[in-house]
């Protein structure tokens, strides 16, 4: 058996013989998933997602084609079970309803929204979603609907402008006819209820509602949060081996430093992947969680474990003692959980924090699992896999550089 494999299996065995570690690796994420499942009503026999009749207040100050189209999406029959929209004209009143926890979110469609989009105006016009922090999951659904709508509007508007410019440049459309053609294109893009945007959007949301299980979000969110504990613990074992003398003993055997380090990395990776795998299996068997495309799930588990392992090695490289890895690792676990969305999707955070969140395995992992749970497949999460593997490789490279400078044993 190759030495790296022997070293990795040894660490896996030791991790699963450590009762305290088992509590944090398996029991804690399982119980938290269970608890959050109850909080969201997943186990109370409601809809599959656990979310239904999400109260939303809409302020349509635009009152034009696109504003009406968005408002109509929320009021559509396909979303009737999921969304319970009300309409008001006063923005302040809508915000007040969010503050009073009467609604999960307020959607503010600003005046001039349609004009700004159709004319390609440089003036920034924003559709605002005021999320209720007390209802992160429900607010996340509302925000997802708005984001999807805006994404389609944006791509439609750009496509229209490019098409008309091309027609004018090639002489197929007279420059003086361009404004009329643009108007006609916009009409087609934004036609309420029957237009391509609205119709396709309605189908997508309805499909997502049927298939998406809130536990398919919560379970990986908790698993990824505690995966950070596992890799931190794994990093700490490297320093513990240094203190206990087993690392020196390994290096006095005919085993190279690269093999020893590789074995430790493999052990951390193996333990993390096994932990998440067990949690996935348990939630599947016990709660019937639908994780989606299994090939994608396996690939995502491995990629997330690789990225997290990189963080574990980085911690070990810079820490001076196993206790330091433990305390810094615990802090990192919580920070990553908040940033990465382990405590709920789209928790309102400043933009710059959202950028930093991309440095966490949690963010890429949770997004990937949510995508798979919504019916996407391996090909759709390739960016997530790439980001996670690149993160793992980069962090590992830094850790190796530090270890080479300071030496594995002291």
């Amino acid at each position: 058996m190759p030495k790296i494999l022997t070293l990795g299996l040894k660490d896996l065995t030791l991790a699963f013989r450590d009762r305290a570690a088992l509590i944090l690796m398996l029991l804690a994420p399982f119980i938290l998933t269970l608890g959050l499942g109850f909080v969201t009503g997943r186990f109370s026999g409601g809809s599959q997602s656990g979310l239904s009749e999400i109260p939303v207040v809409i302020v349509n100050a635009d009152a034009d084609q696109l504003g009406d189209a968005l408002a109509d999406i929320f009021a559509s029959e396909d979303l009737a079970e999921l969304i319970a929209p009300t309409t008001v004209s006063d923005i302040a009143a809508a915000r007040q309803q969010v503050l009073a926890d009467e609604v999960a979110a307020a959607v503010i469609i600003p005046s001039g929204f349609t004009d700004a989009v159709l004319t390609g105006s440089s003036e920034i016009v924003r559709v605002e979603v005021h999320a209720n922090p007390a209802r992160p999951l429900s607010a996340g659904v509302v925000q997802a609907i708005v984001e999807e709508f805006l994404s389609r509007v944006q791509s439609g508007a750009v496509a229209g402008r490019v098409t008309i410019e091309q027609l004018v440049r090639t002489g197929r459309l007279a420059p003086q006819d361009a404004p009329a053609a643009a108007e006609e294109f916009a009409q087609r893009q934004s036609a309420p209820t029957t237009g391509a945007i609205t119709l396709r959007r309605d189908e997508a949301i309805a499909e997502a509602q049927v298939e998406f299980d809130v536990l398919a979000y919560l379970a990986p969110a908790m698993a990824l949060m505690f995966l950070m504990y596992t890799v931190g613990r794994g990093g700490a074992t490297l320093l513990a081996e240094r203190n206990a003398g087993t690392l020196a003993r390994l290096l006095a055997s005919p085993t190279s430093a690269a093999q020893v380090l590789g074995g430790k990395v493999f052990g951390i990776f193996l333990t993390g992947a096994t932990q998440v795998g067990i949690l996935i299996l348990a939630t599947t068997l016990m709660f019937g969680v639908r994780w989606g495309d299994w090939v994608g799930v396996v690939a995502l588990v491995l990629a997330a474990a690789a990225a997290a392992t990189g963080w574990g090695m980085l911690l070990a490289a810079f820490a001076k003692s196993p206790a330091q890895v433990g305390s810094v690792g615990a802090a990192l676990m919580l920070i990553f959980a908040i940033l990465g969305g382990s405590f709920g999707p789209n928790v309102p955070l400043p933009d710059w924090v959202s950028v930093i969140a991309r440095l966490t395995p949690n963010k890429w992992g949770i997004d990937g699992f949510a995508a798979l749970g919504s019916g996407n497949t391996l090909i759709d999460i390739v960016p997530n896999l790439f980001a996670l593997l690149a993160m793992g490789a980069a962090l590992f490279a830094v850790a190796v550089f530090v270890f080479r400078r300071q030496g594995l044993v002291k």
Partner: protein, 314 residues
Amino acid sequence: MPSILEAHNLVKHYGDNQAVSGISFHIDEGEIFSLLGPNGAGKSTTINMLSTLFAPTSGEATIGGKSATQHPMAVRRLIGVVPQEIALYDDLSARENLNFWGRMYGMNGGALRQRVDEVLDQIGLKDRASERVKTYSGGMKRRVNIGAGLLHKPRLLFMDEPTVGIDPQSRRAILDMVTDLNRQGMSVLYTTHYMEEAQELSDRVGIIDRGRLIALGTQAELTRQVGEQQTLRLHVAEDQNAEALATAVRALPGVVSASATDHTVALITPSAAAVLGPVVGQANLGGFRLRSVDIEEPNLEAVFLQLTGRALRD
């Protein structure tokens, strides 16, 4: 007899601290060679360099004709290392530990299983081989620690203070094991700060202090360095100041040197009988209460005391 190990002028610096300062010695095939010295003398650093864990700052060592710095992997296959600390995995059983360490030496399959059984038999733990190491006594852990260094039948075994912190019975078992291994043809480099162990086990002894090898030879050769001098050991009550007593008797005629350790004062003298009366008188005069007095024939402790002016356990 050919040498299994040759060390030439080994030096190891840690920043400004010179842990080992130019040590040279050799070990013959089939020999037990002890490095005797107090804590911090440089014994472990020397073993770490010889076991290829650290490169020496300067100097060279060859083991089985292979350079420790240029061919570390080849050297590692020839040596077994028993570190001073218990370098085992507490949550694995003795058998699992031995299996793991055997694999690290490239062993596997039936050969490994058979060898693990042999070693478990050798260290007397076959009956408790399936229990986790953390449930073992200190002495049992020490025996597994040694066993892990024997699996691949090394030609040269490094044992770094293998009896530290264990009961007399376990110490006896370990010393017997070392003798037995040597009888089977294994060469041993044994470090200790217990003079009795070095005296009992060693064919030759190197006395090391503050990173320097201050004496080297067979026990007879070393004790000849102190001539016919004897050691007079005075044991004082626990509330007495042994250092003050050493100072009080150091200037007496016939006393070559005097040093204090804990509640004992060791005197080097050509004739213990001749100085006993004056020493006891001086102690009474100073108000020191003596509990007992021992007279010892020339030994390695006396050699160390004479060479350094300090006791081995200072």
